[in-house]
Symmetry: C2
Subunit: 398 residues, 2 copies
């Protein structure tokens, strides 16, 4: 079976490597081989083992009836969307690792695929080395999914783990992560939680069957987390993790991306470094968790190739996974309830005036105090917080 790869960067060349390295076992599993016929890239790759496959115009691929499966690993919404749409309209199956494309155009591309009796899949778009998409769409299909809690960004989890382990501050760890290639030059999408936000939007679309707009999800990153926050967390026996959450709330879901205080009894506490994990609770299944590499060329490429095997087994047959174009109105995030850890320069008498009797945390720092609130709604907390003033930092308990 002839296949094509659009975008020969880290992931795209990883896909070629997985297909080459594991050619025998993939052929055995499928009963036929997956042969790369085209690679679309504007750059030249002289000496590449697939040198003869390179093309610069996507129409060469779209027009070749022999190509059944197309991989999109270009990144970004355009021109990826135009190219993928053309491939689906030409009756080809497509798999992508591009979470921006899926979060923005997923429902639309899935409908185009269905209309042309073919498939658009995207296992690699959420949690590279964690097969969470197929787990949700093809395994946990007997359950109402009540909650998803995901550590789904390798960069930030690596940074938080290192801040915890070495007591370093945010800027120091960011510079180190950038020098090691774990963080990008412009790290905004990772450290401000935008990447995690898109991923939980995709997962929530899949469990609800409707379309979630990632812009509706309140999102905080890790750029305000300091080494002092970690000292408090450690004193309380907790760690801090960036978690993307979606919790069933009546007929919809309540979503948030934020740093949370997590304790050792919770499995997500133990997810360290560049590893990621997605915890899923079903109404019949109970608790489950899926753990693996969150990023990296080969784990992500492995997910793409897993998708290619799926597509090869389902050519000319649209497999429904239920993601309608209808928009899901998320629950009001200001009604979410949490316990909060607060650092403030306010006086103890003022704290107790606003929050009643609270539990204090034990670091002996000048000019600030840490305390833990009762559980209350975001809106109630925000009112009291504003009234108190002198806030240094706030972290929610998971």
């Amino acid at each position: 079976m002839k296949v094509a790869i659009m975008g020969y960067g880290t992931i795209g060349s990883g896909v070629a490597k997985v297909l080459d390295t594991n050619k025998d076992i993939i052929t055995e599993r499928l009963g036929e081989s997956l042969d790369i016929k085209y690679i679309l890239d504007l750059r030249d790759f002289p000496g590449d083992p697939h040198e003869s496959c390179f093309v610069k115009d996507y129409k060469a691929i779209a027009d070749d009836k022999e190509v059944k499966i197309v991989v999109e690993t270009m990144g970004g919404v355009e021109p990826a969307f135009t190219f993928v749409k053309a491939m689906l309209e030409a009756g080809k199956s497509v798999t992508t690792s591009n979470k921006a494309l899926v979060a923005d155009k997923g429902a639309e591309l899935m409908q185009i695929a269905e209309a042309h009796n073919t498939n658009f899949v995207f296992e690699a778009a959420v949690g590279g080395g964690i097969p969470i998409i197929r787990t949700i769409t093809a395994c946990l299909t007997g359950d109402v999914i009540e909650e998803i809690d995901a550590i789904c960004n390798g960069t930030t989890n690596y940074m938080l783990t290192n801040m915890e382990q070495f007591g370093s501050d945010y800027d120091e760890i960011l510079a180190e992560a950038q020098s090691l290639g774990y963080a990008e030059k412009d790290p905004t999408a990772d450290v401000e939680g935008h990447d995690s936000c898109r991923k939980i939007a995709i997962l929530t679309s899949l469990i609800s069957g409707k379309n979630v707009d990632f812009n509706d999800i309140p999102t905080e990153g890790i750029s305000k987390i300091s080494s002092t926050d970690f000292k408090y967390a450690k004193a309380m026996g907790y760690s801090i993790k960036l978690i993307a959450r979606s919790i069933k709330c009546g007929n919809t879901y309540s979503c948030r991306v934020a740093p949370y205080l997590v304790k050792p009894e919770q499995m997500l506490y133990h997810v360290s470094g560049v590893m990621n994990a997605v915890a899923v609770r079903g109404n019949m299944l109970g608790e489950s968790m899926y753990y693996g590499a969150g990023a990296g060329a080969l784990p992500t490429a492995s997910a793409v190739v897993g998708d290619m095997v799926f597509l090869a087994r389902n050519t000319e047959r649209a497999v429904k996974i239920g993601w309608a174009d209808e928009k899901l109105t998320l629950a009001n995030p200001s009604e979410q309830k949490f316990k909060y850890f607060v650092r403030t320069s306010a006086l103890q008498s003022n704290i107790e005036n606003e929050f009643g009797e609270v539990e204090y945390s034990t670091l002996d720092l000048d000019e600030e105090v840490g305390f833990i609130t009762e559980e209350m709604t975001e809106s109630e907390f925000n009112e009291r917080k504003t009234a108190l003033g002198g806030i240094i930092s706030v972290i929610r308990f998971f």
Copy 2:
């Protein structure tokens, strides 16, 4: 779509409950409902909501062309095998939670299914609430699977967790587990590792594509583990877990079921109580782990219903998962290499005579000493162990 359940015990009635409770969402996902037409059981269930569905002869189901999907939750090899075979030969799809049936007859039943253009699936047979079968057969299909390490028996993990937590001895914890219904009256299949052995045989068949005879896998249970073993483990910073392992070794796999010493840096250390987990390493994917309830009526029934949705999406279409009837000759287990923890009444001079300079463990017990060997093969260890004598217990390091 009409379905039937064979065996209305804990799991079978759980399947009915999942279908009833989640009827709306299952219908939405499938585009049609799954309606129970028959329940096969020799017992009577007066007042059951599905009372009108009960039959006592499996042929009533096999002969009804309207029934497309049959659930087998009877347990045991016979008559389950005869009944399942008849259903497949009648062109119906079958899902089972019966690991004894799958370990013994899996390859044969899959071939019968393929010959009749239908499917035999068994997600619930390994790790009830963990979708490990479909993960291996439909997600990690681009990888050579290099290693599987599974805590895949809820009873023994519950017992070991409690022995560790409360310092209790084996007999005490077994009696408690039996009184709580977590262990059966005859607990042999669980505590001696036979259940875990069948599960790792099934998983190894799926990753190798050949048929593994569970009788070929060296299997030790937990019945020799004592509270003193846990005291040593704790002093060394380890826990003890019953792990079913399969490691790629040339063109085959090397398998073993045994208690292992596990340290906190390893994710399996954190799998406690009745929860189970399967760690999978792929040559491209790297490390991954799948965590969930190992048993229990609803988690297991959830897996069966997930299979039913899969079968409903694939009627009259055999989905290959590659488990040939050809036997896989496993690697010689006596060539496996481990570090061993040994408790012995032998003299220190004799220990050093047989094992050289070893690391001693620190409990101050009369008449025994604990030590840690270098890594060596099973056969070499067994020779030296026999020469040393006075062995009280041996546990391998994971």
